[in-house]
Structures are given as C-alpha cells and as structure tokens.
C-alpha cells in the first residue's frame, strides 16, 4: 500500500497539504456550524486528529474527502458536547467578522444570508457541490444518502434560493 505521509518527508508533505486545504476546511466548517469561532475550533481539532492518523491515508488524492469527513465528524462531536443556542440569522451574519465582509459585494452578503437560512439538509450538499467541487456520487457517499436523494436536495436548495430572490423582486414590485 502506498503511504505518502510516513516519515519526515511525509510529515512535511502532510503539513503542506493541510495548509493548502485549510481554507476549504474552514469554509466547510463555517457552513456546518454557521459560526466563525466554532468553525475555527472544529478545523483546529480536525487537523490535530488528521495529523495523528495521517499514516492511514493511502493516497494524496483521497486527502480532501478524508479531511472533510473528519471535519464533519468533529463538528457533530462538538455539537453533541455543546448544545448551541438558536441564533437569529441576523446575528449569524453579524458574527461573520463584518470588517472583512465589508470589502465584499453587498449582493454576495444578501445571498449568504439566504444560504444561512437554508435547512442543514439542503445547505450541506450544496456546499459540498458548489464550494468543494464534489460530484453528486461523492456527496451521496459522504452524507450516506442515495444519489437520487442528493439530486433532490440540490435541486430544492437552488429552488429555495431562487425563490428567495424572486420574492425579493416581487416585494420590490408590490
């Protein structure tokens, strides 16, 4: 079995890989937790776990889905340990470091708000597909769903966002 992350060279290679994938892992964790600080905690803990298990990773190409799975499990573990209070979406957007967000397009923030409002079942496969570039087959495997169920959730996620946009237009026209 090829074990690319053993020995000193493997350690360096794994550290570089983690640096490279960290933005994706943080974003994935953010959209799971909908909280920047929780996302940072989840990623930090996930990378520690990944580091300890790095030698079990057989190939570099499998690293990203492997790390995403660890992030997902770590988030679930953290969620089990700590029951988060329900937070209004306005606060969620506000907690997202406004000094950074201010540099972005306002319309992007508006759509981000709509995505924050999506149910987890719709938001997670959308994040995996659009942000992580996973195929519907890979998403099905990651989430333990059938491919048909993933397709339905993705279709409905976009429908909900589109509906939200159209509702904005209709409200404007009313």
């Amino acid at each position: 079995m090829n074990a690319p992350f053993t020995g000193k060279d493997g350690e360096s290679a794994f550290a570089r890989l983690c640096d490279e994938l960290r933005p994706d892992l943080f974003r994935f964790a953010f959209w799971l937790a909908r909280d920047r600080q929780v996302a940072e905690d989840v990623v930090q803990e996930s990378l520690l776990r990944a580091w300890r298990s790095r030698e079990s990773l057989a190939e570099t190409g499998a690293a990203k889905p492997w790390l995403l799975t660890i992030v997902r499990r770590e988030h679930a573990r953290l969620y089990e340990r700590k029951r988060f209070e329900t937070v209004p979406v306005d606060d969620l957007v506000g907690s997202e470091s406004p000094e950074l967000a201010a540099a972005e397009e306002q319309q992007t923030l508006d759509l981000r708000r709509a995505i924050l409002e999506l149910e987890d079942d719709y938001r997670e496969p959308l994040v995996l597909q659009v942000l992580m570039g996973m195929t519907t087959d890979e998403i099905a495997s990651q989430l333990g769903l059938t491919q048909a169920a993933v397709l339905t959730r993705l279709f409905r996620a976009r429908q909900k966002l589109r509906k939200r946009l159209v509702a904005g237009v209709n409200e404007e026209g009313s």
């Binding site: 506000g94 508006d110 409905r156 904005g168 009313s174």
Partner: protein
C-alpha cells in the same frame, strides 16, 4: 427527456450537465435559458459560500459584532435581475413580438416559479394559501385536490394567485387572472408544457401542466372549485 425532467436534473447539477440534458437544451430555447440562469445562480452561490478565511497566525477577533444592515430589496432586485437576465433575453427572442400574448406571458412567468415543477404530497401552508386566495378575491373548494404551492405573484402589473395543484399526471400550475379576459378559450403547447386559458368569472383561469397531465379534466375541476368574490 421532457422539460420537467430536464429542470430537475439541470437544477441539481447545472455545472456538469449530462449528455441528455445538453441534447435537450440544444433543442429547447426555454430550457437552455433555464440552464444558463441556473449556472449564473451557481456563480453567485460560489461567491457567497467563499467566506473570508482567518489567517492561521491571526488571533481571534474579539470585537463586538457590528450592526447588521437590513435586507435592502433593491439589492435583491439587482441580484435577481442579473440572474434572470439571460432567461428574459431568451424569452424575448423566442416571443419575437412587441407585446407578448397572454399564453406567452403565462409561460414566461413559470420560469420564475420553480415550485411549479415540484412533485410533492405536502400541501401548502393553510395560512399562506388563505392569504393568497383572499388577496386574489377568490375562494377555493377542497375538491380541487392538493395545493402544494401558493403565491401572490406580480403578473402584467397585477397581483394574481399562482397555485400548484398536484395531480396524477404531475404538478399543474393554476393562475387566476381576474383582469385578463380572452374572448374564447386559448389552448397552447410549448416544449413539453400544455396549457389552457379559460374565460371564467370576471377574468380567466390559466392551467398549465406537463405532457402527462389530463389538462381538460383538471381544468374542469379547477373551474368548478373556484368561487369568485365580487370586486
């Protein structure tokens, strides 16, 4: 592949359409527009999902969150307009006239109501349905069947009830057009959809379904179920 199936597949994975989806789009300008629109939506989704990533060497931000601006409808309008622009252009080319026919306008409206394509057994919220019917000046008898979607839509400058009724032949869109009165029943078909606009009450009712829907029977059922309130 019909238009309904196309939209389900294109709406689930617009960036990697399979060969059958592309083949359908090549022969169907409306669906090709839908695909472009959904791909454009995805570009906006990607931008929104790409939240700023904190530097691994930076400390935690500890400042209190700044006030969140409320939703500015004009911004929604700008974003939505940019997304639907491709479809609107496509529709105008397809219509090719200075003023759309009522049937064409009804079909174009459906492009903006993706709920019209959802097969479900879940009924619309009673309170929402009640408000839509009240705003549209109608009552609806339960014999019409499961109404899975209800919205008060802007259509030709008026607010009209837009309903989706689930039938054995798939979801059917019903638009109650109090202010549109054709001289006679209009029947039309376009890219997998079939529709009829029937004079009723002070105006008309449009019923549009997929190729599997028994439009005549459904239209009769809808006409019998709608009671018009006086202006």
């Amino acid at each position: 592949m019909d238009c309904l199936e196309f939209r389900r597949l294109a709406g689930a994975d617009p960036q990697h359409p399979e060969a059958a989806v592309l083949a359908h789009a090549a022969g169907c300008p409306r669906c090709a527009g839908y695909l472009r629109q959904t791909q454009e939506l995805d570009r906006h989704i990607l931008a929104a999902l790409s939240v700023p990533v904190p530097s691994p060497h930076a400390g935690r931000a500890t400042g209190a969150a700044a006030p969140v601006p409320g939703l500015d409808r004009r911004r929604w309008y700008a974003l939505a307009a940019s997304i639907v622009a491709g479809v609107l252009v496509g529709s105008l080319l397809w219509i090719g006239g200075p003023r759309n026919s009522l049937a064409q306008d009804v079909l174009a409206h459906m492009d903006h109501e993706p709920e019209a394509f959802v097969v479900t057994t879940t009924p619309a919220d009673d309170a929402v349905l009640g408000r839509v019917l009240e705003r549209g000046g109608i009552r609806l008898r339960p014999e019409v069947g499961t109404v899975s979607y209800a919205n008060s839509c802007r259509f030709r400058g008026r607010t009209v009830p837009h309903l989706v009724v689930q039938t054995d032949g798939g979801p059917v869109t019903v638009m109650v057009l109090r202010h549109e009165r054709p001289d006679a029943t209009v029947r039309f078909a376009d890219h997998g959809f079939a529709g009829t606009i029937v004079p009723a009450g002070p105006g008309s009712i449009a019923v549009i379904g997929g190729s599997g829907a028994d439009l005549e029977q459904i239209t009769e059922r809808v006409l019998a179920a709608v009671d018009w309130e006086l202006d």
